[in-house]
Subunit: 295 residues, 2 copies
Amino acid sequence: MPTESDFLAWVKQQQQATSRVLLPAGDDLAILRWPSDDLLLVGIDQVLDGIHFDASIHPPRAIGRKAVNRNLSDCAAMGCLPAAAVVSFALPGGVGLDYATELYLGLHDAAHPFDCPIVGGDTGSWNGKLAVSVSIIGRADGVKPITRTGARAGDGIYVTGPLGGSILGRHMIFLPRIREGRQLASSGVVTAMIDLSDGLSRDLPRICSSAIVEETGLPIHDDAKVAATESGIGHRSALAHALHDGEDYELLFSASAPPPVGTRIGTVTAQGGIALRRRDGTVEPVVSQGWEHGL
Amino acid sequence: MPTESDFLAWVKQQQQATSRVLLPAGDDLAILRWPSDDLLLVGIDQVLDGIHFDASIHPPRAIGRKAVNRNLSDCAAMGCLPAAAVVSFALPGGVGLDYATELYLGLHDAAHPFDCPIVGGDTGSWNGKLAVSVSIIGRADGVKPITRTGARAGDGIYVTGPLGGSILGRHMIFLPRIREGRQLASSGVVTAMIDLSDGLSRDLPRICSSAIVEETGLPIHDDAKVAATESGIGHRSALAHALHDGEDYELLFSASAPPPVGTRIGTVTAQGGIALRRRDGTVEPVVSQGWEHGL
């Protein structure tokens, strides 16, 4: 039977030292050289079987990719560059070495294009379901990170792409908006930013307490239109899918002047909460209906 | 029903900015100021229900503590200081807000004495068992990290404490040897170091391919003696428990001269593999019997 040691030996072969990575995975900790005065950003995001993917449907390589891409999306939302990532795998007993290596290759597929080495990991087999947790380290590299606070009344609200219906498959294969995040953070006009993981109606209040969203401006993804017509997926309109569906992984941001990328969907207001102006001019409150889990 | 948002709101209240932590948990990523030319160390270690703890027996606070302490033990093994940690919780549905806050308080209990803020996290409820993954960032702070490579024939081999029988309870309440690791890394005589998580017989080959361990020198924990006599736990001698049991979380290291702390248990040799010299002078090979899991 293949063992965790076999897998770790294989992972070690995939590693290499670079100018930034003095000691790659394989020791107790990896060692990185950090540039003088470069801000360090750090976070962690997991994907869980039955919540973020379905192990009976999605291949391990796609699961690994998503685990990294969710974290890269956090880097995008701060406007930073990924520097390195570490990963823990909780593997159902008996999945085998090929499954584990495919998971790892999925991490690599996602991280490599963004020059983000996987520098450490922890693998455990258990009598439980698949859980993959990735922690990412980002670097500001001369660009001031954009936080969720900073939006002011009058700022425009923008998104980097159309929203809704990602459950039809896009949630597994999205491309993190690292380049757009960098452009936006460098532009000097972005006042607050977040990546859309829980749905517009839940994520927008995280960057401003009051805003008006224009139905005429909101880009609705074709997937949202399909989801609205397909039976069994939802009995909601395409607009409702765009407002409330999770896992778009587009950037949502406010800006004090027209930004280099993005579609304007509304305006930060001084009071009144989050509202939607319909095509007919009527204004209604937007109530959060995105992902929210009980404990 | 309490939600993940309630928990996150509570976690945010626990956070504070410091001179090192410019932006604590609550945004997409935390932001740290990193000192010029300080090496950065990073790793990740998870604890899984049924493998590293038993959720039906161990309280959440103890589980949280262990999750952080395993990572602090990795810092100790490199001789670095912890700088910050991030955590992901995969929570069985319905555990409730109190359970989640107790887990978090356990993290804090372990991290706070070592000035290691918890700067980020990801919480998900699932139809699965409890998994807690912690990623730690360490800083060299002027002391060269000690890796697993560097042991030379003739070096003494040492441990920071008695071994064996941790399954009786010590594996949940060990103290990470951060201070000892720093002392050792600063001493200039330590050539390789690791923390004992998988058992001496499995971890010793990770720092040297050949060594002789002296039975007369090996400190055997009282727990190993109890484990050897108690029925149902094992039919192995106390010596076998000390050699093969996992989760001691003591430091194992080689040194070219007497170190400031530690008990000498043997010597790095030029060839012959890992061997044990018994009290009667006979020498036998040591075969790894520590933790090893199939995939």
